[in-house]
């Protein structure tokens, strides 16, 4: 069974993007759920796809699709983590 919490996903995202966050002078502890990774210049389209790949590999998930996610929340760290954790839970059920 592959149960992942949103917090775990968020922690992984922060550690995966640690260099980019540092370059943008963002302290990991300050990252709220509504932190927009794209608006803050932490990732671009390629960065997003690399992040999704890394999440899939790290949590051993098969192709996460974002069809049911609100488009506006796609790059917000909190909703993104919650969505991925939810997908993982659904697949393991």
């Amino acid at each position: 069974m592959n149960v992942i919490s949103a917090d775990e996903v968020k922690r992984f995202i922060i550690s995966h993007l640690s260099d980019a966050l540092r370059e943008n002078n963002v302290a990991s502890a300050e990252i709220a759920d509504d932190f927009d990774l794209m608006k803050q210049g932490v990732i671009d389209s390629i960065g997003l796809i690399q992040l999704v790949s890394a999440i899939e590999e790290h949590f051993n998930l098969e192709e996460v699709d974002f069809e049911e996610m609100d488009t506006e929340e796609l790059t917000l760290i909190g909703p993104l983590s919650t969505y991925i954790a939810g997908r993982a839970k659904r697949k393991s059920a």
């Binding site: 389209s45 390629i46 997003l48 796809i49 690399q50 999704v52 790949s53 899939e56 192709e63 699709d65 974002f66 069809e67 996610m69 488009t71 506006e72 796609l74 790059t75």
Partner: protein, 175 residues
């Protein structure tokens, strides 16, 4: 005399092509005037094509470039359709002379370089600064030098579509 006339014709044609190229580089009119200039140079261009600022679209042989419908090419991109007599690989019947073929709904980011004998498949997207050296499959996002596939696109990025919607439908490329 015949040879002189031939050279003169070639010179006049080359001058006309370069003047039109320069006008298209700097004048406004991404959907209109710039497209018209390149069509006048002999380039095959479909409908709804958007050409950004300061593009260099094959200086010597513009007729070797074909752009499909709704193609978007962003600023400072360069298309090179010939190089030291390298033969053109036919792109199909009626397109034997085409060296670079960009199919419908392709998005070309800023500062991209596309080299000769390349087909960019329908709905593909090329990330900024990439160097395209070989064919790109349809609905594929490529990046880098040389450009390699990084994702499959669910919808094209070119045209009026929403950027976040495009991002949402990207899937990591798994060869």
């Amino acid at each position: 005399m015949k040879r002189l006339l031939k050279r003169l014709r070639r010179y006049v044609r080359g001058t006309k092509n370069r003047i039109l190229q320069h006008l298209a580089r700097f004048m406004p009119g991404a959907l209109t005037f710039r497209v018209w200039c390149h069509r006048m140079r002999g380039m095959k261009i479909g409908k709804g094509v958007w050409l950004g600022y300061d593009l260099i679209l094959e200086t010597e042989y513009p007729e070797r470039v074909s752009l499909g419908n709704n193609v978007e090419i962003n600023m400072r991109t360069t298309l090179i359709a010939h190089f030291h007599g390298i033969p053109i690989q036919s792109k199909g019947p009626g397109e034997e002379h085409i060296s670079i073929k960009i199919e419908d709904d392709v998005f070309v980011g800023p500062g991209v370089i596309i080299l000769p004998n390349v087909i960019v498949g329908r709905g593909a997207a090329i990330a900024a600064g990439s160097v395209v050296t070989k064919n790109i499959p349809p609905m594929t996002l490529v990046q880098g030098n040389p450009a390699v596939p990084v994702a499959k696109c669910g919808i094209p990025l070119a045209g009026p579509g929403d950027y976040k919607e495009f991002l949402k439908k990207l899937k990591p490329y798994k060869p």
